[in-house]
Symmetry: C2
Subunit: 196 residues, 2 copies
DNA sequence: CGGACAATGCTAACAGTGTCAACATAACTT
DNA sequence: AAGTTATGTTGACACTGTTAGCATTGTCCG
């Protein structure tokens, strides 16, 4: 299978950077913990460990790239779910279930995303691709809130929703509770944005 | 300062196990990430790295012990909060705020707790100290739910509450949102156990 | 076409880690 | 006092991320 749309013609290996990211994603997919070993990854690629340093300044940068890819996939997943499910409580619950389901199916990737984005300086509005993607995810969440809310209420409601599904996902990933879609839906539906 | 209540008389060092745990907790407290280095810890204790292997079978066991201690502290913190704050929505919100506050003050420890307990086989009702302490924490949460609920509703409500505060705590620890007690309270109060 | 140059890859090495085996010392027991 | 057990140390092994120096290959330009 020839490489797909090689932006720049490959030299020795053939776009090692893309191959590394692909292999990295594969490894993360078949793993529970985000313990990517740089050397092990290079071994799987049939390449020397230091070759990767021609494409990433260090291991963290590689992980950042993987986390960014994961974040984009997550964002797309959520956008699709939001579009499919209409508004209202049921639609909101569906989107929540979608988040948790994605997390269960991509545990290492979700962990990597949140671990990595924490390192980035987020206070300064740096136009990092990472910060950008996360901002988009947040905007997507906020967009689902009821219309009649003030901006402040909206922010609180969005944070509530995000915390709820993220916390539930983490508890499942950490083995605290079993994954059960019906239960997830039930838990999400206990939110009442008019309360408080 | 002489050692406090030495259960068994110390040999060379003087209850190295306790000293290691204490130093480990100290390190975790002054750190954001739970990256305890076994050798570094031994260095701080003025002892050789392998000396720790006389008290813990391996590094994971040491981390488990630290996580257990942390879990006990967290449980005690929550129990006190629950006793102080009465029932009702406001009391419940207070307990939630307490959880998040503790997490913010002990980030590495909270991470360690949840990371470690995930490795333990939890499906089998093993009487591990770890599993025991976690069970206690969960029971404490469930006890706060309204009385008129069925057992199933109670379980869902407890999971909702736990997910909410845990998720909020994780988002704060990961640098996604700033810690603001008032905001936490507001977010927690959006829960309505009678909804759904 | 051929040489210059940059892009990419490799080997060797360094400091760091967790862990094991073998040895040494101190405390307790009899 | 002698022996056994508990504790601690040194040295080593395999592993990790990372750097420096060298080798190779593709691209470009005269």
């Amino acid at each position: 299978m020839p490489p797909v749309l090689p932006v720049t013609a490959p030299y020795h290996h053939g776009d090692l950077r893309a191959a590394a990211l692909e292999m990295g994603m594969e490894r993360l997919a078949s793993q529970g913990q985000p313990d990517l070993g740089l050397r092990a990854l290079a071994r799987d690629l049939g390449v020397s460990a230091t070759a990767l340093y021609r494409h990433f300044p260090n291991k963290d940068a590689l992980l950042d790239a993987l986390a960014l890819e994961g974040l984009n996939r997550l964002g797309q997943n959520q956008a699709e779910a939001a579009a499919k499910a209409g508004g209202g409580r049921d639609g909101f619950a569906e989107v929540g279930v979608t988040y948790v389901t994605w997390a269960v199916r991509n545990p290492a990737l979700l962990r990597l995303i949140y671990n990595r984005v924490g390192q980035v300086d987020l206070a300064a509005d740096d136009p990092t691709a990472m910060g950008e993607a996360f901002h988009q995810l947040r905007a997507g969440i906020a967009a689902m809130m009821p219309d009649e809310m003030s901006r402040e209420e909206r922010a609180a409601a969005a944070l509530h929703a995000w915390s709820l599904v993220h916390g539930l996902a983490m508890l499942i990933l950490d083995g605290q509770v079993e994954y059960d879609p019906a239960m997830v839906r039930k838990v999400v539906l206990m939110t009442d944005f008019n309360a408080g």
